[in-house]
């Protein structure tokens, strides 16, 4: 039995019939084809599936698709504008914050939410805000430096 839901993903409205047990993560990846959101653990521990749901970061593996009914979702694919990188994406490229890239989408979305809430976070605040996003490659340092370097961030 499928449930009909209406969601806005990256500004595009969708009407979708989904199984009640389908996660938002699987909806994005396998029904809508937005594979930039990654599946790393399916238990909310790694943060690779982080998306922004009505302005808040969530691990989309722990959200059911039906819970997203009527809501707005932002994924990594919705961040660029006309092929131009978002300043956070540009900072990740410039600072070498990317190795295997599997945590990158979730990291960037967590960072985006942080900078919206707090345009001038301290390093400690940055580290705390991405502490739900595991990265096994970088040691986090270049990721933190990238977020620090985003234009518009003011020193505290």
């Amino acid at each position: 039995m499928r449930k009909l839901i209406n969601v806005t993903i990256n500004g595009v409205e969708y009407e979708l019939g989904v199984k009640p047990n389908l996660t938002l993560l699987d909806l994005l990846r396998y029904e809508v084809g937005l594979t930039g959101t990654k599946k790393g653990c399916e238990t909310g521990e790694c943060g690779a599936c982080t998306v922004i749901l009505d302005g808040k970061p969530v691990t989309s593996c722990l959200v059911l698709a039906v819970q997203a009914n009527g809501k707005k979702i932002l994924t990594i694919e919705g961040l660029e504008k006309d092929g131009n990188l978002h300043p956070i994406q540009q900072a990740f490229v410039d600072k070498g914050a990317i190795q295997c890239g599997f945590c990158t989408s979730g990291m960037i979305l967590s960072a985006k939410h942080l900078l919206e809430q707090n345009p001038s976070p301290s390093e400690a605040e940055i580290r705390k805000s991405i502490s739900g996003n595991l990265c096994r490659c970088t040691g986090y340092q270049k990721i933190v430096q990238a977020i620090i370097s985003v234009p518009g961030r003011t020193e505290k």
Binding site: G96, I98, C135, R136
Partner: protein, 770 residues
């Protein structure tokens, strides 16, 4: 043997090499466009699942698959009897039929299960739900067996036999140099300790995944997250079909750290697609990954080290025992690394090493970043600090009196012919660490620690390792590189672009590197053993240089200059000292094409080829070269809670030549945290073969708030065996962190902990507070 980089570039300043530039794969990754293994579907594909054993040691009495087979939507149910060659003895990742070791790989358990999580049956079905339900309907009747879970017990002749042989001991090496008895008799201080290190999970973020299909020319094609596309040979052998009927494609890999060096989903996918004729996809859950994939080897290491009053090492005796888990895989190779590295970067006149790797009914162990080097580094560097303490020497001083230098020989007789800058790395690391901080509370104690290490780059020389790369220049002056590398996140592909860009004077963005496809890219070997830059970098350098050479005569003719005076830069060719006398590179290429000049080259690079060492004495050359470095750390230990905070961390390595300093630094920072997890929190806990840590809630990978700031100091001796004098850094970067932390903790609390990880519980015990 030493290469002079000037030979390659006529003493002209590098334009790309050594410059921190974004990696060419960074853009797709920030856009979320990179298609990893699980991001790729095929029309009409089935979903594959694995039934895993319920016991770590048991006889399989019967398997009844009829219930699963009857389910609508189930396309195939396979057990060992359906696998043409279920028990292949394969030589993992080797390209030559040489070598004294064989990794026993069993596709599906047959008659007996050896570890909890071992694959027993496979299912392919139309949906994941149906596949899952089908697994539940397979009835396996087991008779539980006692099993053996401690490698020391497993060594007893009357121990439970994990495999079918008559001993659980897979192999034993010995190193013999001088006379240790004599050495100890001439030592004023002898330190004896037994060290233990745990199972470690790789914890890459991308679980094992792949999709297989049969293409329109009947080729079994597998697109898989792997470090070794050359497993196409093993897959073909399992199916009993010619090697050229299997194609493996490696997309960008979401982290490997050694675990994707062994076969993961490849054979399962090939079998299921071969049986059903349909595309099949398989992605493991995190729990499935942790319980069934390889782990880092736990070791028990008995070390006895003696030194004179002035701190000169006289003798070292070590017994190393590693837990191979339930199947052989790469355990003998990992053990050989540990055996050769057992002395560390020190000159010791009398050495005796006896090493063993032993089967148990634990999860199998195999490659993990460091490949046997970090285990012994923890032991030999703890020993050095204990000797220093007993002799009232500083940790740096005792090391300085014993470091190997260029031209010295290892205990195995191998003379170090490339740069050895260990002493410099230790001095610089300690300098950067600075004065100890003040404790932030009365219960806190501050300690500083130093550790040095050595680890090889490039595979073992008896494997006769080779790599090849294609470099071609197009008519518009853009460049195509084809090289069968697997990019696991270290910038393996991007470094090839840097090299081609440097030689041909073409910007990075106009270089396209095609990687990881056994049908289309020249075979470049494994992304393992910190070998890719060394091997494929050299092959690409050679190919690009040949392409440039073939363009030179025409360019010289067009510029009316001598070929040796020409510079390739910014897609132009000009006369040195007269940049105004320039012509577009594209014009030269077009003119060469019109003359029928070959515009591409496929070059092969061969590592040194050596024979197997003597296993009774350890004498011979095992590795092409080593990377040397040091870590210095400062910790704060809370003596009430036992919690360790790392306040400062300095990593100093001689990288030879950083091809892209941003990438090299990224390896050193990432390696530091990988090693820090080993030191402080990471341990796969097994209770009689059952994994108690099957998720990231129990298995504690460091997060951003656990990670200290890492200060990286890169030395560039330009004296490595890689391109432009580079050394390898991927694995060596995590080598000496754990002992540096252990030494810092010992310095803080005045007690030495001999087992990793250094948990609060162990610290409180050592303070006699528990």
């Amino acid at each position: 043997m030493k290469k002079d980089p000037k030979d390659q570039l006529s003493n002209y300043e590098y334009q790309f090499i050594g410059k921190p530039v974004p990696r060419h794969d960074a853009w797709d990754k920030v856009f979320g466009r990179t298609k990893y293994a699980d991001d790729f579907d095929m029309p009409g594909m089935l979903f594959g699942k694995v039934l895993r054993s319920s016991y770590p040691a048991a006889k399989i009495l019967s398997i009844d698959t009829s219930g699963a087979e009857k389910m609508p939507g189930v396309a195939a149910v396979l057990t060992a009897k359906d696998v043409p060659n279920n028990e292949t003895v394969t030589r993992f990742g080797q390209t030559h039929q040489v070598g004294g070791f064989e990794g026993l790989y069993r596709v599906l358990a047959d008659k007996k299960v050896r570890f909890m999580g071992e694959a027993v049956a496979l299912v392919a079905a139309e949906t994941e739900e149906i596949a899952e339900e089908a697994l539940a309907r397979i009835k396996v009747e087991y008779e539980q067996l006692p099993g053996v879970f401690d490698p020391l017990e497993a060594m007893n002749p009357d121990a439970y036999q994990v495999g079918e042989g008559d001993s659980n001991i897979i192999c034993n090496y010995q190193v013999r140099k001088g006379d240790v008895k004599e050495g100890f008799s001439r030592s004023h201080v002898v330190v004896e300790n037994t060290y233990r290190v745990p199972f470690v999970e790789h914890a890459f973020l991308e679980p094992e995944s792949g999709i297989a299909w049969i293409d329109d020319s009947e080729i079994i094609t597998i697109r898989v997250s792997t470090q070794v596309i050359e497993h196409f040979r093993d897959v073909a052998d399992v199916l009993g079909i010619p090697h050229n009927k299997v194609r493996v494609i490696a997309p960008m890999v979401g982290g490997g750290f050694g675990s994707k060096e062994d076969i993961t989903v490849e054979t399962f996918l090939a079998l299921l697609t071969w049986k059903t004729g349909k595309p099949v996809k398989m992605t493991w859950t995190r729990e499935g990954s942790i319980i069934s994939s390889s782990k880092r080897h736990p070791y028990v290491m008995k070390y006895k080290t003696g030194a004179t009053r002035d701190g000169k090492l006289m003798a070292m005796e070590a017994q190393l025992i590693s837990d191979a888990g339930a199947h052989v895989y790469l355990s003998p190779w990992v053990l050989l690394y540990s055996t050769v590295d057992a002395t560390g970067p020190y000159d010791i006149p009398n050495v005796k090493v006896d090493s063993y790797t032993v089967l148990t009914n634990n999860t199998f162990t195999s490659a993990n970043r460091g490949f046997g080097a970090p285990q012994v580094c923890f032991a030999y560097e703890s020993q050095m600090d204990e000797l220093a303490r007993r002799l009232s020497l500083s940790p740096l001083e005792i090391r300085k009196r014993n470091y190997l230098r260029k031209g010295d020989a290892l205990a195995t007789g191998r003379v170090l012919e490339y740069g050895v800058e260990t002493e410099k790395t230790a001095i610089k690391a300690l300098e950067a660490l600075g004065e100890p901080s003040m404790p932030s509370s009365p219960t806190e104690k501050i300690g500083q620690g130093l550790a040095s290490g050595m680890m090889s780059y490039g595979r073992m020389t008896f494997l006769h390792d080779t790599s090849r790369s294609y470099v071609g220049i197009e008519l518009d002056g853009s460049v195509t590189v084809r090289c069968g590398v697997q990019d696991i996140g270290g910038g393996q592909a991007s470094s090839l672009a840097s090299i081609a860009a440097e030689i041909l004077g073409v910007p990075m963005e106009e270089i396209k590197v095609f990687i990881g496809d056994t049908a289309l890219t020249p075979i470049a070997g494994t992304t393992t053993a910190t070998r890719m830059l060394y091997m494929s970098g050299n092959a690409t350098l050679k190919a690009a240089t040949e392409v440039k050479k073939s363009l030179l005569p025409k360019a010289a003719e067009m510029l009316e200059a001598s070929p040796e005076d020409l510079v390739f830069r910014d897609k132009k060719v000009f006369v040195r000292g007269a940049p105004a006398r320039a012509i577009p590179l594209a014009d030269v290429v077009k003119a060469c094409a019109a003359d029928g000049v070959q515009l591409y080259n496929v070059a092969q690079f061969n590592a040194p080829f050596r024979e197997l060492i003597d296993f009774k004495t350890g004498q011979g050359q095992v590795f092409p070269d080593f990377t040397f470095g040091s870590h210095a750390v400062e910790v704060a230990v809370d003596t009430e809670t036992g919690k360790v905070r790392v306040l400062k961390l300095v990593a100093c390595y001689d990288v030879g030549q950083a091809i892209n300093p941003l990438s090299a630094e990224g390896q050193i920072e990432g390696g530091a945290l990988y090693g820090l997890g080993y030191a402080l929190t990471e341990e796969v806990i097994l209770d009689k073969g059952i994994t108690l840590t099957p998720s990231f809630s129990e298995y504690l990978v460091p997060t951003s708030v656990d990670a200290p700031h890492v200060k990286t100091i890169m030395l560039e001796s330009r004296d490595g065996a890689g391109p432009f004098g580079a050394k390898g850094i991927g694995e060596p970067s995590c080598n000496s962190i754990a002992p540096a932390v252990a030494n810092a903790v010992a310095n803080a609390i005045g007690a030495r902990i001999l087992d990793l990880p250094l948990t609060p519980e162990k610290i409180l015990r050592s303070l006699q507070k528990l």
